[in-house]
Subunit: 428 residues, 2 copies
C-alpha cells in the first residue's frame, strides 16, 4: 500500500470576535485539511492550524510523502526532517522550515496515515496507540472574553435568527457577569464539568474577579483554570496567583519562559500548567530541571502527531507531571484525532481544552460532534471514525479564497477595533 | 476478537558454563514461552526469562487476560497492575508481585498481543510501533569468560562431534588470549562488527588486558564494551577506566548505583552505559539529574514491553542519552521481538547485545535465525514473523521438568566448581 495522492485544502471557518493577549480573533479562523489517498483508494484525513504557510508546506511535503507506505511513519518523518528540517538548507538551497511548520506538516500527515491505518486494519486509531484507556473523553468549557458578534460573514454583527447556544455565543462577555453568563450558557448546552478562561485581556484584578465570580456561580466542585497567555510579569502573576489560591485547578502560562514560570510556581500552591513555555520535546529537560510546570498541555498538532503525544504523556508520567490538552479553533478532523489520542493516553489527568463550541461549521459527514455531559464518546469505528463532507469542504475552501486571510494575525484584527493597539510581551 | 486461551510453557535451553560477577551459568537457562490464542484461533507468542516465578505469574495473569481484546494493551496492563501490582495487596490478600515479575508478565503478554495484532492486520510488529527505521538490526559479539564445556546434557563436558562455532563455543576462555580467540571465532561465524565482554569475573588488570588484547586484535574500527556488572568500587572503576580510555565505545555498569556511576563518569571521557543502575522508568529522573549514564540499555522484558521500549527511546532522545539493547540467554521469540522493536526505534544508536550465539536450540519453525554480517534482517511477515515449533517446545519443556532447575542461581552453580565461593556486591 502506497500513498498515491495528497489533497491540501485551506479553509476558513466562522470564528466569533474572541479576545486574547494577542488581540482579537478575525471573523474567520484558518485551517488546512489534508487528505491522503492510497493506491488502493483508501483515504485518511488530517487537520492543522491554517493559512498559506502550513498549506504551502504540505504541498511541498508531497515529494516526500507520495509513494510511501502510510504505516512507515518513521520513514515519512525522517524524510520530512531531512528535506525540510534544520540542516536541510545546505542540501537543497531553500530556507528550512521553522519548527512549528515542520510539526504541523508532520502532524497532518501522521494523523491522516493513522486514519488510513485504522481503516485498513478495521480498528479505531486509539487501538493502534496502545489501546483505549477510556470510553469517553472529558472536555472543559473554554471561555473567552469577547465582543458582541458572530464572526464569519456577519463580521461583528449578530444573527437575529440564532437560538440557544448559537445566540448566546454572539453576546459580549467583557466583565465578570458576562463571563459567568457565557459559562452558564456553554455548560448548559454541552454539560462541561470544568471551566477555563482565556485571560490576558483585561487588567489582572478584573480577571481575578471573573475567576472568583465563576467559583461563586459554579461552586467548589467545578475545576477552574485561568490562562493569561504569558503577558503578566512575575510579580503580577504571584500577586494575583495568591488571590486565586484555592480557586484554580491550574494556572496556565501566567508568565513567559520557564524561569519565570518556576519563580511563580515556587511562590504558590496552585499547580502551574503550560502550552507556551514548554511546547516541544527539546524544552522538557529545562522544564523538569527548573520545576517550571506541573501540567503539560499536549497538542498533537504542535508536538508532532499522535504517537508523539503518547510519548509525551509517558515522559510526563515518568517525571511526575500531569497531562492536559491544548486546543485552537478547529473542526471535526482535529476533534476526532484529539478524542482518539486522549483515549489512548493512560495518564490524561484533566479535561481537555477545545474551541469547538465556538465554531459552527463542519467538514465531516453527519455534521458536528455532540457533547454528552461534557464529554465525547470514543468512536470504535475504523480510523478516526469520520468521513469527509466534500461539499462542505469545497464551500469552506471557497470562503478561504474569498475572505482574503492568509494567516492568523490577531493584532491586526484588534487594530481594526482599537486603532493603535499593539501586542505587548508583558502587559501587566 | 478476544483472548480465549493462554498457554504458559517453561523451558530449559542448553547454556554453556559462562562466568559473570554473579557466578556461573547453569547447564540450562530457563525461559517461559507464552502463547495466547484468540477466539478466532490466531495465536501470538511471547518469551521472557524463566523459572517457576514468571511462569506462575503468567498462569495467574490468565484471570486478567482471558476475554480481553489483544489490541487493548492499556486495559490489559492496567488490569495486571491493579490485580497484581503494588497496592493490590489490600484488595486480594496476596503478596503483590515484585516489579520485575510484573514487568516480565506484562512483556510476555504485550509481545504476544503485538504478534496477534500484526497477524490480523497483515503487518510486521514494527509497523504498529511507528514503522521501520531500518531494514537490518546490528548485533554485537557478546563475549564471556567461560570454562570449558558445552552445557546442557553434557554439563561441563564437551561434545567431540561439534564443529565450527559449536566447537569453538565449548572452549575455555579465561585469559586475554582465550577471550580474543572466542571473539575471533564468534565474529568469523556471525560477522559482528562490535564486541562486548561480560566482565566482573577476574581481577581488573586481567580484564583490562583482555580489552586491550581485543583492541590490538581487532583494530580501532571495532567498537568495544566492557561490563563488570557493577562489582567494582568507584576508585577501581576510575583507575581501570582511565586505562581503557580510547579503548571502549562505552563502559557498562562498572559500579553499583547512579551516584557511583555519576562519579565514575565524571572522572572519565568514556561514555557510561547501564542496564543495572537505571532499569525502569522511575529511575530515569535520577539518572538524568545525576548525569549517571550516557547510554541506556533498553530491554523490552524488563521495561514493560515493546511500546514502552519505543517510549524509553523517545525519553533518551529528549534527554540526549543514547539507546542500546540488553539481552539474556534466549531463543527466537525474544530474538524476533528484539529485532522488531529495534527496527522501530529511530534512535537506536548502538549494535544490540544478544546471548543468542551461546544457545543452540530453538522453539520456532525453520530453526535458528542466521546472522548476516552481524545483523538480522527485519522481517516483513505479519506479527513477529515466526511460527511455533510445538514439538521442539515440548522437548524443551520436558527438559525443564527433568533438569530440576526452577530459578536462575549462578552462585550455587559456581559453588559446585569453587566450593565456598560467594557473590560480593563490590569485589574489587
Amino acid at each position: 500500500m502506497k500513498i498515491a495522492e495528497m489533497r491540501v485544502t485551506p479553509i476558513a471557518i466562522t470564528d466569533p470576535p474572541l479576545l486574547n493577549a494577542g488581540g482579537l480573533h478575525a471573523p474567520y479562523a484558518l485551517r488546512v485539511i489534508l487528505e491522503i489517498v492510497t493506491d488502493d483508494n483508501v483515504y485518511g484525513l488530517g487537520e492543522v492550524p491554517g493559512g498559506e504557510r502550513p498549506a504551502a508546506a504540505l504541498e511541498a511535503a508531497r515529494e516526500v510523502v507520495i509513494g510511501k507506505d502510510p504505516f512507515q511513519l518513521n520513514a515519512i518523518k525522517r524524510g520530512l526532517y531531512e528535506r525540510f528540517g534544520e540542516g536541510s538548507l545546505a542540501l537543497n538551497g531553500d530556507e528550512p522550515w521553522d519548527h512549528r511548520t515542520l510539526m504541523l506538516a508532520i502532524s497532518a500527515i501522521e494523523v491522516a496515515c493513522y486514519d488510513v491505518m485504522g481503516k485498513v486494519t478495521g480498528r479505531p486509531v486509539c487501538d493502534l496507540l496502545g489501546g483505549r484507556s477510556r470510553d469517553r473523553v472529558d472536555f472543559s468549557a473554554y471561555l473567552f472574553y469577547k465582543y458582541e458578534g458572530a464572526g464569519g460573514a456577519l463580521g461583528f454583527d449578530t444573527d437575529p435568527d440564532a437560538t440557544g447556544w448559537a445566540a448566546a455565543r454572539q453576546k459580549a462577555a467583557l466583565d465578570p457577569e458576562g463571563v459567568v453568563a457565557e459559562a452558564k450558557a456553554m455548560c448548559d448546552e454541552f454539560g462541561f464539568k470544568s471551566i477555563k478562561l482565556k485571560g490576558g485581556v483585561f487588567p489582572p484584578p478584573e480577571e481575578v474577579a471573573a475567576m472568583k465570580a465563576l467559583q461563586a456561580a459554579f461552586g467548589p466542585d467545578v475545576p477552574l483554570r485561568h490562562d493569561p497567555n504569558a503577558i503578566w510579569s512575575v510579580d503580577t502573576a504571584i500577586k494575583y496567583g495568591k488571590e486565586m489560591e484555592g480557586v484554580l485547578e491550574y494556572y496556565e502560562d501566567p508568565v513567559r519562559g520557564q524561569e519565570s514560570m518556576a519563580a511563580v510556581g515556587k511562590a504558590l500552591d496552585t499547580p502551574m500548567a503550560t502550552n507556551m513555555c514548554t511546547t516541544r520535546f527539546e524544552h522538557l529537560p529545562g522544564s523538569f530541571r527548573l520545576g517550571s510546570e506541573d501540567v503539560i498541555l499536549s497538542d498533537h498538532h504542535g508536538w508532532g502527531g499522535l504517537l508523539s503525544t503518547v510519548e509525551l504523556a509517558r515522559i510526563c508520567k515518568t517525571f511526575g507531571r500531569g497531562v492536559s490538552m491544548h486546543s485552537n479553533s478547529h473542526v471535526g478532523i482535529t476533534m476526532a484525532a484529539m478524542v482518539q489520542v486522549a483515549a489512548a493516553v493512560p495518564n490524561l489527568d484533566f479535561a481537555c481544552d477545545t474551541h469547538y463550541p465556538w465554531q459552527s461549521e463542519e467538514v465531516i459527514m453527519g455534521g458536528r460532534f455532540a457533547f454528552d455531559d461534557g464529554a465525547l464518546p470514543v468512536s470504535n469505528e475504523p480510523g478516526l471514525g469520520i468521513e469527509l463532507d466534500r461539499e462542505a469542504l469545497a464551500k469552506l475552501h471557497d470562503r478561504y479564497v474569498a475572505c482574503g486571510l492568509t494567516q492568523r494575525n490577531d493584532e491586526i484584527e484588534m487594530q481594526k477595533v482599537n486603532p493603535g493597539w499593539t501586542f505587548q510581551e508583558t502587559r501587566w
